[in-house]
C-alpha cells in the first residue's frame, strides 16, 4: 500500500497546524471516507509509537445505544480522546468508534471542527457525498423551478420550518441538557444582577413607550414555535416542561413587555436571526455532539436543582433565547435579508401593558444590557465593610450588592444557590474590587470580573 498519505497528513498536521478531520481528508485526497478514517488511525498509531515530537490530540466519533432519561436512544457523539473510555463505558452497546480528527491543538470546543469542514464541503457541494457511505435514492438536486419555489416559501414565517426540524431531531440525545444548565448558572448571574440593578436606575428612557402588545403577539407565536426546538435540546423528558414553558414564558413576555424597546428598533432582523439561532441549535443537536468538549460542565455550579429552579432557568433561558435574536452588532448574528417579514413586526404603538414597574425595569435593563445600551449611572456608596464601591449602570462587578438589595423577582431563585456559594468569597471580592477600581487609573476601563467567578 502506498504510504505517501502519512507524509501528507504529517504535513497538514505538523507543518500547517491544521485540524485534519476524516471528512476533510477524504475530500482533499479524493478517497472514500472509510479509507480516510483508517489513514488517520494509522497515522496516529505511528506517531504515538514513535513517541517523539509534538503531542497530537485526536477526537473520536462514538455511536451506540444507550438509555437516557428512561428512553432508549441511539447516540452519536464526538468526544475528545481523554473522554473516550468514559463515554464508551456509558453506552450499552457501542456500535462504532472511529477517529474523527487529528490536530496539534487541544480544542476547547467543537467550533473549529465544523469550521474545518465547512469550506471543503462548500466547494464540493454538488458531490459532497461522493466518498461517503450514506446514500439516499431520493436525494436528488432540485430543478431551478423548485429552487425558486423553495426560496419563496422561505420568506413565509418560519413557524412551519421549526416544526419540521422537530421531527428530524427527535432521535438525538439530550446531551446538551447538562451543558445548557451550566451556562444558565453563570448567565443567570447576569440576568439577576441586572434585575436588581434596574431597580436603582431611574432613567428609563423611551424604551417603555415602544409597543408592547405587538411584541406580545409575536412572542406568543415565537414561543410556540420555540418550544419545539427547545424541547429537543432538552430531551424527551423535558417535553412536558416544554408544554408548560410556552404558557409561562408568554406570561413573562407580557410582563417583560418593555423588551419591546430596543428590540423593535431593529426588529427587522429579528425573525431571520432567530432562524439562524435555530439553525445553530439544530446543528448542535444533530448527529455530532461534543459533550465532553464543553468545559462549561466543569464549572462550579452544582447540578442539584429542584424542579422549580429548573423551570425558572429554562424559562429564563427561553426568554433569553427569544431575546437573543434581537439584532445587535455585537451579537454578531448574520443579519438576514428578509425584507417582507419586518412588516409583520413593525411596532404600532397602541396600548401599553401595565405591569409592575419592577419587572419592566428588569426586562428593559436586561434587554438594554443585551443591546449594549447601558444607562451610565454611577453609584458610589459605602457598603457593609466600609469599603467604597462605585457602581455604574448595569455593571456586573457589583455582584455582592445585588445580594443586599431586595429581589422581588422570581428570577432571583435560580441564582440563589449560586449566591450561597459565592457568599464566602464576598469579602475577598470586595477587596479585589477596590483594588481594581483604584488601579483603573487608565481611562480605558478594564472589566474586572473577579467578583463574579470564584473559580479557575
Amino acid at each position: 500500500m502506498d504510504y505517501l498519505y502519512l507524509d501528507n497528513i504529517d504535513e497538514f498536521v505538523n507543518d500547517q497546524n491544521k485540524i485534519v478531520t476524516y471528512k476533510w481528508l477524504s475530500l482533499t485526497l479524493g478517497v472514500h471516507v472509510n479509507t480516510a478514517k483508517q489513514m488517520l488511525y494509522h497515522y496516529l498509531q505511528q506517531k504515538r509509537n514513535e513517541g517523539s515530537g509534538t503531542p497530537l490530540h485526536a477526537t473520536y466519533l462514538v455511536s451506540g445505544k444507550c438509555v437516557e432519561n428512561g428512553s432508549k436512544c441511539h447516540k452519536v457523539s464526538v468526544v475528545r480522546e481523554d473522554k473516550l473510555n468514559a463515554v464508551k463505558a456509558k453506552m450499552d452497546v457501542t456500535i462504532s468508534v472511529h477517529v474523527y480528527s487529528v490536530q496539534r491543538a487541544e480544542l476547547k470546543d467543537s467550533s473549529p471542527l465544523y469550521n474545518t469542514d465547512y469550506d471543503a464541503v462548500k466547494e464540493n457541494i454538488k458531490n459532497c457525498n461522493k466518498y461517503s457511505t450514506i446514500r439516499c435514492a431520493a436525494a436528488v438536486p432540485m430543478s431551478s423551478a423548485e429552487v425558486q419555489r423553495a426560496q419563496e416559501m422561505a420568506l413565509v414565517p418560519p413557524a412551519g420550518k421549526e416544526i419540521s426540524k422537530t421531527g428530524l431531531n427527535e432521535n438525538t440525545s439530550a446531551t446538551p441538557k447538562p451543558s445548557a444548565k451550566q451556562p444558565a448558572g453563570i448567565m443567570g448571574m447576569f440576568a439577576s444582577k441586572n434585575a436588581s440593578k434596574s431597580q436603582e436606575s431611574s432613567k428609563e428612557v423611551k424604551t417603555e413607550q415602544k409597543d408592547d402588545s405587538s411584541l406580545v403577539e409575536t412572542s406568543k407565536s415565537k414561543t410556540a414555535s420555540k418550544a419545539n426546538p427547545m424541547s429537543n435540546l432538552f430531551g424527551k423528558s423535558a417535553q412536558k416542561k416544554a408544554d408548560e414553558k410556552p404558557n409561562k414564558s408568554v406570561k413573562e413576555e407580557t410582563a417583560a413587555s418593555s423588551t419591546a424597546p430596543a428590540i423593535m428598533e431593529q426588529s427587522q432582523t429579528s425573525p431571520k436571526s432567530k432562524i439562524d439561532i435555530k439553525d445553530e441549535q439544530s446543528k448542535v443537536s444533530s448527529a455530532l455532539k461534543v459533550e465532553s468538549k464543553d468545559t462549561r460542565n466543569k464549572t462550579k455550579r452544582p447540578e442539584v436543582v429542584d424542579s422549580d429552579d429548573e423551570k425558572m432557568e429554562s424559562q429564563q433561558k427561553k426568554r433569553r433565547r427569544i431575546k437573543k435574536p434581537q439584532p445587535d452588532s455585537s451579537d454578531d448574528e448574520v443579519v438576514p435579508d428578509s425584507p417582507p417579514v419586518p412588516n409583520v413586526q413593525t411596532p404600532s404603538p397602541k396600548k401599553q401593558v401595565k405591569r409592575e414597574p419592577v419587572s419592566h425595569q428588569e426586562e428593559s435593563s436586561e434587554v438594554k444590557r443585551r443591546k449594549r445600551r447601558r444607562v451610565l449611572k454611577s453609584h458610589t456608596f459605602v457598603d457593609e465593610e466600609g469599603s467604597f464601591v462605585t457602581e455604574k449602570g448595569y455593571v456586573s462587578e457589583s455582584y455582592s450588592e445585588s445580594e443586599e438589595e431586595p429581589e422581588p423577582n422570581s428570577q432571583a431563585k435560580d441564582s440563589s444557590s449560586l449566591k450561597q456559594s459565592f457568599g464566602k468569597r464576598e469579602e475577598e471580592k470586595k477587596e479585589k474590587r477596590e483594588k481594581k477600581t483604584s488601579t483603573a487609573n487608565k481611562p480605558t476601563k478594564q472589566p474586572s470580573i473577579m467578583g463574579f467567578f470564584q473559580k479557575k
Binding site: K18, D109, D332, P336, L376
Partner: protein
C-alpha cells in the same frame, strides 16, 4: 446611548446581507462608500477575533462565553456586559481611523499580573490604494478568508506556550503619522478617551514572532501574528 452601528445603519445591513446569502449582488462605487464598508467588515471581524482570543487563551473563564454564529460558523462570544462594552467602544473609536486608512495595526496585548506583556496579537491592516470591485463574489470570498482567520485563531494554542494565571488584556492601535491628534480633539465616545500607550506595553522584551495567518483580498489585506515572550513565568 449611541452604537457605532447607528451611524451607518445602511452600510452595516448592506454588508451583512451580502455575507448572509453568498450574494451575487455587485457593488458599484456609487452605491456604497468603500471606506465605510471596509471599516465595518473589519471592525466586526476584530470584535469576533478579540472575543475568540479571550476564549482560546483563557483570559476569562469559559463560562462567560456563548456560541454565536458569524460567517456561518460557530464562534465564542462573551456575554459579560462590561467586557463587551469595552471592546465595542474601543472598536468604535478605531473605526474612523480605518475608514481613513490611518490605522496600521490593531494590537491585543495580553499582560501578566505585573502588567508586563506576555503575548501580543498583532493585526496588521492595509488597504490597497485602488479598491477594485471587479468580482461579484467579493464579499463571499472575503467571508471565506475571515473564516480561515478565525479557524487559525482557534488552533493557535498549539504554537503558543501557556500563559501564567491572572492575565489581563488591553487594546492598542498603531496609527500612521499624526492621525491621533485629530482623535484627541474629537472625543468619539464620551468618557472613553484614548491615551498614548505606555512604553512597556508597546515593546516586549525577548519576543518570539509566530505568524498565524495572512489574508489578501481586493478590499483588504491583513496579517495576523503573535509576539510571544520567551519566558512567560
Amino acid at each position: 446611548m449611541i452604537f457605532y452601528k447607528r451611524d451607518a445603519p445602511l452600510f452595516i445591513k448592506g454588508c451583512c446581507i451580502y455575507f448572509g446569502c453568498f450574494s451575487m449582488a455587485t457593488l458599484t462605487r456609487q452605491d456604497l462608500n468603500f471606506g465605510q464598508v471596509v471599516a465595518d467588515i473589519l471592525c466586526e471581524f476584530l470584535e469576533v477575533a478579540i472575543h475568540l482570543i479571550l476564549y482560546v487563551r483563557e483570559i476569562y473563564p469559559s463560562g462567560i462565553f456563548q456560541k454565536r454564529k458569524k460567517y456561518n460558523v460557530p464562534v465564542q462570544m462573551s456575554c459579560h456586559p462590561e467586557l463587551n462594552q469595552y471592546i465595542q467602544d474601543t472598536l468604535h473609536c478605531v473605526k474612523p481611523l480605518i475608514q481613513k486608512n490611518e490605522a496600521e495595526k490593531v494590537v491585543m496585548v495580553i499582560m501578566d499580573k505585573e502588567h508586563h506583556p506576555v503575548e501580543r496579537f498583532v493585526f496588521e491592516i492595509s488597504q490597497p490604494p485602488l479598491l477594485s470591485i471587479s468580482s461579484e463574489t467579493l464579499l463571499s470570498h472575503v467571508e471565506q478568508l475571515l473564516r480561515a482567520m478565525i479557524l487559525k485563531i482557534s488552533v493557535c494554542d498549539a504554537v503558543l506556550d501557556n500563559n501564567p494565571p491572572g492575565c489581563t488584556f488591553t487594546l492598542l492601535v498603531h496609527t500612521r503619522e499624526a492621525a491621533t491628534r485629530n482623535m484627541e480633539k474629537v472625543q468619539v465616545i464620551k468618557d472613553f478617551p484614548w491615551i498614548v500607550a505606555d512604553e512597556q506595553e508597546v515593546h516586549m522584551e525577548e519576543a518570539k514572532l509566530i505568524p498565524l495567518k495572512t489574508m489578501t483580498s481586493d478590499i483588504l489585506k491583513m496579517q495576523l501574528y503573535v509576539e510571544e515572550r520567551t519566558q512567560k513565568n
